[in-house]
């Protein structure tokens, strides 16, 4: 039979020589191999203290963005919900009232915005579909939970922290990924 690779080795069934029967050279060889592993670099990362850097294309939990003055970008146009292949997104639109200009950037906004995280496949199509730069996938994981209903994230869970009231949390939530997206 012809070998597929050149890794095949003929089994050596010759009786052991005297040196081999003594075992000691083999034992010393084996022990030198294990000893050399003391000096090898350990691949383990001390997880909670250190984290592995995310890949630049990592897609984590969704975040609803605000503009620099802290107004919500989302206009409840529904393009993300249409784009979503898992049908995880639902929303209800509402009209902005007088005096709410500091809350919402445009006349229409999302009164209710829900993502079912059990359905979401983190494909990022909602982010691509959004014309207002209102939703993007951040660099955070979706945390685990005990109940299924806890995985339907409402606006409270998704909205980014206010950039002026809580600038540090805002920056952290924004992450590196938002910077890569060119704002139109």
């Amino acid at each position: 039979m012809q070998a597929l690779t050149n890794k095949a080795k003929q089994v050596d069934r010759a009786p052991m020589s005297f040196i081999e029967k003594m075992y000691l050279p083999a034992i010393i060889k084996g022990m030198s191999i294990t000893f050399s592993h003391i000096f090898k670099k350990k691949p383990t990362i001390n997880y909670p203290e250190k984290t592995r850097p995310f890949s630049p294309v990592f897609r984590g939990m969704q975040i609803l963005n605000r503009d620099a003055e802290g107004r919500e970008n989302c206009t409840a146009c529904g393009l993300c919900a249409v784009a979503c292949p898992a049908e995880a997104i639902t929303m209800e639109a509402a009209e902005r009232q007088h005096g709410e200009e500091n809350l919402y950037r445009e006349e229409k906004y999302a009164a209710k915005y829900e993502i079912n995280m059990l359905r979401c496949i983190f494909c990022g199509l909602c982010e691509e579909a959004c014309p207002k730069d209102a939703i993007y996938l951040s660099e955070t994981f979706t945390p685990a939970d005990y109940q299924r209903k806890q995985f339907i994230y409402s606006k409270n869970d998704l909205l980014i922290p206010h950039p002026q009231e809580n600038p540090e949390a805002y920056k952290k939530a924004l992450g590196n990924r938002a910077n890569k997206i060119t704002v139109n």
């Binding site: 084996g30 022990m31 294990t34 000893f35 592993h37 003391i38 670099k41 350990k42 383990t44 001390n46």
Partner: protein, 346 residues
């Protein structure tokens, strides 16, 4: 008559006993930690590093866990022997340290204190006697469990230890012919002034080392507790601190056999290439203890290093190695040593 007892000596020895027993318990405790850490490092892992700085509190956590586990004594076991097994294993493990010279004399407020609990003139025989008692702890425990896996483990332990004790004893006879004494203290003094015995008895040391591995039930001779064949071997039915005692006695045995090997073959508390008599006696004694402990740590590391290198023997291979290789080799070593002594001395 009662007043003739030297109470100061009694107190001195009592303190020494307490210190030695607690020190060997402490060292055994941290050997369990070192075992896990060395295993991890040899396998490119990190090992326990969560409990305390560098994971140094890990052995305490392990001990606490064992204490809080449920204590189970099987219905079908014979209860008295079941409890006696681990107790005996622990007792014999702690008893061996009595004759070991930990250092030279130390001058303590005008009183010269010997850093040895008992300088018996048959020291090494005492060690042998107590170590071979240790197998009864395993045998009794395994028999009392009334479990076939335990019994198999116990049988294996008994036959293994008996087989390897022979080769160990014969290899030691060659050493005793050179030293001409059974007292461990005297052997160390001889090595301080002459060569270390490992230079004079390399083959004897090798045989002794292999047998020490077998006596301690360490890999590659850990057949009594071969997990993948016998579940837990002789301690299958044990739980809580009784299991802890078995595991712990194994580590104490490892420590003691390292000390015995260092004393017999590597000059005990002798500092190599250095004349201790130029130092102040107290400093020399303390440095001697440090030297002994360094040798012991090196041996313990060797025990662990071998464990993570060499796989377990098959049972027939074990018996083959013991009876057909080590014993003839030890006999040859004994005869050759005798011949050489005869040739040079007469």
């Amino acid at each position: 008559m009662l007043l003739a007892i030297d109470f100061a000596l009694l107190l001195e020895k009592l303190i020494l006993v307490v210190v030695v027993v607690f020190a060997s318990l402490g060292i055994a405790m941290y050997t369990t930690f070192a075992e896990r850490k060395v295993a991890a490092i040899l396998q490119d892992r990190r090992g326990p590093n969560r409990a305390g700085p560098f994971g140094l509190l890990q052995p305490l956590a392990d001990g606490m866990k064992l204490f809080f586990k449920e204590e189970i004594i099987p219905d079908f076991s014979s209860k008295f022997l079941f409890v006696m097994g681990p107790a005996l294993a622990m007792l014999t493990a702690c008893m061996t340290s009595a004759v070991i010279p930990w250092g030279d004399k130390i001058d303590f407020f005008g009183r010269s204190v010997d850093l040895q609990i008992a300088d018996v003139n048959i020291g090494i025989l005492y060690v042998f006697g107590v170590v071979s008692l240790g197998v009864y702890g395993i045998m009794i425990g395994s028999w009392a469990s009334n479990n076939k896996f335990s019994l198999m483990g116990g049988l294996r332990a008994a036959s293994q230890i008996i087989s390897y004790e022979l080769a160990m004893g014969i290899s030691l006879i060659a050493l005793l012919m050179i030293t001409g004494t059974l007292s461990l203290k005297e052997m160390v003094v001889q090595q301080q002034h002459g060569y270390w015995n490992v230079v004079l008895q390399p083959l004897g040391f090798l045989i002794f080392l292999v047998c020490a591995f077998a006596e301690c039930n360490r890999t590659p001779f850990d057949l009594p507790e071969a997990e993948n064949e016998l579940i837990g071997g002789y301690h299958t039915e044990y739980s809580s601190m009784k299991l802890g005692f078995y595991l712990f006695s194994e580590y104490i045995n490892m420590f003691i056999s390292s000390v015995v090997m260092a004393t017999l073959f590597f000059g005990g508390y002798d500092i190599p290439f250095f004349d201790e008599s130029v130092l102040a006696p107290n400093l020399a004694a303390i440095l001697g203890i440090v030297a002994l402990m360094t040798k012991v740590i090196a041996f313990i590391f060797l025990f662990m290093w071998v464990r993570w290198t060499i796989p377990r023997f098959r049972y027939d291979q074990l018996m083959h190695l013991g009876w057909r290789i080590l014993i003839p080799l030890a006999l040859f070593n004994m005869l050759a040593t005798g011949g050489v002594i005869l040739y040079f001395n007469k």
